[in-house]
């Protein structure tokens, strides 16, 4: 209390004219934002709104659940399920017949469930490195080329064009055959991104070309904001939906190509890199496609591949909704409370768009 009065007297002393007019620099917000409020807003923006949006759409629900299921299977599964070995069970046990081998066994008595779970771990590692590298390189190269134009664009676009023109899978195949890649899943992911980033970079570049003359970019340039800040703070966030969708696309591509490389046995099979491609290869080598009763040997890894990639496509679509500001505004509670009439106008606007 005494402190307070003291400070007030010194303030008054400073004003020689004795007037009581507050300087605008002294005004502080009349609303106090406590730490709790700040957490609530963060929770609202980053957790509540995305989850609410995702949960609204059945497709998004399926996609989210599927991807989460695979991540859990890859991370937690190996803790509960033991790696399988030759002659663990009878040969070619059919799926859904025996609780010891829910997905059946292959012709050497190895448990299909265990193989699938351990494959998921490997595939998740490949996806992590492959998708991040592909999207990272593609986005950076594409947006810089599109925004800068001129000589920089010519150089970057030429490099991009070379990589687009190289047939991705054969290139990766030759590199995998010639380079000592070994069985490290992260290295396989990086290898796969070599043939994949070009298309994304070109697509991002043409997206940037459409927004480089938008008012907010021109304004940022007019204000003398350095190029790297414009690219990373103005342009890339604007392309975020596109980038995120492509992240899931890149993940899908990594799965497809990695499985193909292992299916063709181009990459050496090690026990640390067990994956669905290896299972498919073994099934094909042992002639499961014409042997009776061996169909599940193909179908189990195939279902695993298709399931994960359905999940990724649906997740990509739902993330697009999360990033879309118009869909977002509807779900953020704080935004609607503060925004009042404006956000209502936005809602109406959106409804019109939806109807037309």
């Amino acid at each position: 209390m005494t402190d307070d009065t003291d400070s007030r007297t010194t303030d008054q002393d400073a004003r020689s004219d004795g007037g009581n007019v507050n300087s605008p620099f002294e005004i502080v917000s009349e609303y106090e934002e406590s730490r709790w409020d700040r957490y609530r807003k963060l929770y609202d923006a980053y957790i509540y709104a995305p989850v609410a949006i995702v949960w609204r759409d059945w497709r998004a629900r399926i996609g989210f659940t599927l991807v989460l299921f695979y991540i859990l299977m890859g991370l937690v599964g190996p803790l509960f399920i033991e790696p399988t070995g030759v002659t663990e069970g009878d040969a070619l046990v059919q799926p859904f017949q025996n609780w010891a081998y829910p997905l059946g066994t292959d012709n050497m008595g190895r448990d299909m469930l265990s193989q699938t779970v351990y494959s998921t771990t490997t595939i998740l590692k490949m996806i992590t490195s492959g998708a991040l590298f592909t999207v990272g390189i593609g986005t950076i190269v594409g947006s810089i080329a599109g925004y800068k134009g001129g000589v920089v664009d010519t150089i970057l676009s030429s490099i991009t064009d070379v990589f687009i023109n190289l047939p991705g899978f054969p290139l990766v195949m030759i590199l995998a055959a010639l380079l000592p890649i070994g069985g490290n899943p992260y290295m396989v992911g990086i290898l796969l991104s070599v043939g994949a980033w070009g298309g994304l970079a070109r697509a991002i570049r043409s997206q940037v070309l459409t927004i480089r003359h938008e008012a907010f970019v021109e304004a940022a340039r007019g204000m003398g904001i350095p190029t790297h800040r414009i690219v990373f703070k103005e342009i890339i966030p604007h392309l975020m939906p596109y980038v995120v969708i492509n992240l899931t696309n890149a993940a899908r591509r990594v799965i497809f190509e990695a499985v193909a490389l292992y299916y063709l046995a181009i990459l050496p099979f090690k026990s640390s890199s067990l994956n669905w491609g290896v299972i498919l290869n073994q099934a094909y080598q042992r002639g499961a496609h014409y042997t009776g009763g061996a169909l599940h040997w193909f179908l189990v890894p195939m279902a695993a591949i298709v399931g994960l990639s359905v999940g990724l496509i649906l997740l990509g679509q739902s993330l697009d909704r999360v990033f879309n500001p118009r869909v977002r505004a509807r779900h953020e509670r704080t935004a609607t409370e503060d925004g009042g009439p404006e956000s209502k106008a936005n809602d109406d606007d959106m409804n019109i768009n939806e109807v037309v």
Binding site: V162, L166, P170, G195, A203, F298
Partner: protein, 334 residues
């Protein structure tokens, strides 16, 4: 209207790409640690060939002289490549060019069919989904498209092989032409070829899933435009609006996706042809990789790349005919 300067630049870019690819194959063959050339010389020496003769044989096969300094070897290699001399296959003991001439038409045959059918399907299905957005038809077709897009072509290929060829015997299990029928324009031969190509073509139709989703998105964007409201007010029929107004404008952005999927399909021919033992470019490339037949492997890679590069060049040069708005004019540099 026709932008000559842009076309010249585009062709220049193609030449640049081809140069990079040839250089890349040279680097892979000659410079990499544990490179194929060294491996081949070692292989021959181990088989009892004396070192000088081994180097000479390798030079003949790879068009790369192992003893020459790298710059000279590079110039020789490029001259050989430009003369169409891609070396000699070690496994088949015949010029790589001959093997290419034998296998390229088959790959082109399968790929062109699958490319056009899947693109056509994608456009039509995408337009239907967008036009009846939110309806049961949309939900059903979208689910179908997502399932297609989630299935790798080789998974579909294996399934088709198992069921249509091995279980039900509707289509042949392997090969590219009917046995016992003389090649020619006879009915038996042509239908035989078509039956052999049917399953590979069908497998590649998974590409239509992604294409139709892209088309759906584009069409929905176009459907929001004002000129469509005007078209509706004019009382034009749904068919006219969807084909003349929506499809035309929505197809154009699909062009890029089409081009990229072209390259991917060429790449995919390796796995596809393995599944069906369809002796095209991809099949030979894969068998060369297994056999460590480096001249054939590199030759096939070069040819696959040239095919993709030329296809993209042709497509780019004709794009301005499709979309008059697309010019090659350079945008202002910041």
């Amino acid at each position: 209207m026709v932008n000559i300067g842009w076309r010249i630049r585009r062709i220049g870019q193609t030449v640049f790409t081809l140069w990079v690819v040839l250089t890349l194959t040279f680097v892979l063959v000659r410079l990499l640690p544990g490179n194929p050339m060294g491996a081949m010389v070692q292989q021959l020496i181990q088989q009892g060939v004396n070192p000088a003769r081994a180097r000479h044989l390798v030079e003949l096969r790879l068009s790369v002289d192992p003893t020459k300094p790298i710059p000279y070897a590079y110039v020789d290699y490029m001259v050989n490549m430009l003369q169409g001399n891609l070396g000699t296959s070690m496994y088949y003991s015949e010029p790589v060019v001959d093997i290419i001439a034998r296998s390229l038409p088959w790959t082109l045959f399968v790929l062109s069919w699958s490319l056009f059918i899947s693109f056509f399907m994608g456009v039509i299905i995408g337009a239907l989904m967008a036009y009846w957005e939110g309806s049961k038809l949309d939900v059903g077709l979208t689910s179908w498209a997502i399932l297609m897009g989630s299935t790798p072509y080789y998974v579909l290929a294996l399934l088709l092989l198992i069921f249509f060829a091995y279980r039900w015997g509707i289509f042949p299990t392997s090969g590219r032409q009917p046995t016992g029928v003389p090649p020619g324009f006879s009915v038996a031969y042509v239908t035989g070829i078509l039956r052999h190509a049917a399953l590979p073509v069908l497998s590649m139709l998974v590409a239509s899933g992604v294409a139709s989703l892209g088309m759906r998105g584009n069409s929905i964007r176009v459907l929001g435009e004002n000129y469509l409201r005007v078209a509706r007010l004019r009382g034009l029929s749904d068919v006219t609006i969807s084909t003349q107004y929506v499809a035309r404008n929505a197809v154009l952005p699909m062009y890029t996706a089409f081009l990229i999927s072209l390259g991917e399909m060429f790449g995919g021919s390796v796995v596809l042809e393995q599944v069906f033992s369809y002796r095209g470019l991809g099949w030979y490339m894969l068998s060369a990789t297994y056999q460590r037949d480096y001249p054939l492997m590199m030759g096939m890679f070069t040819v696959l790349t040239i095919a993709v590069v030329l296809a993209l060049l042709i497509a780019d040069l004709t794009y301005s005919l499709v979309d008059p708005r697309a010019g090659g004019q350079k945008s202002e540099a910041y």
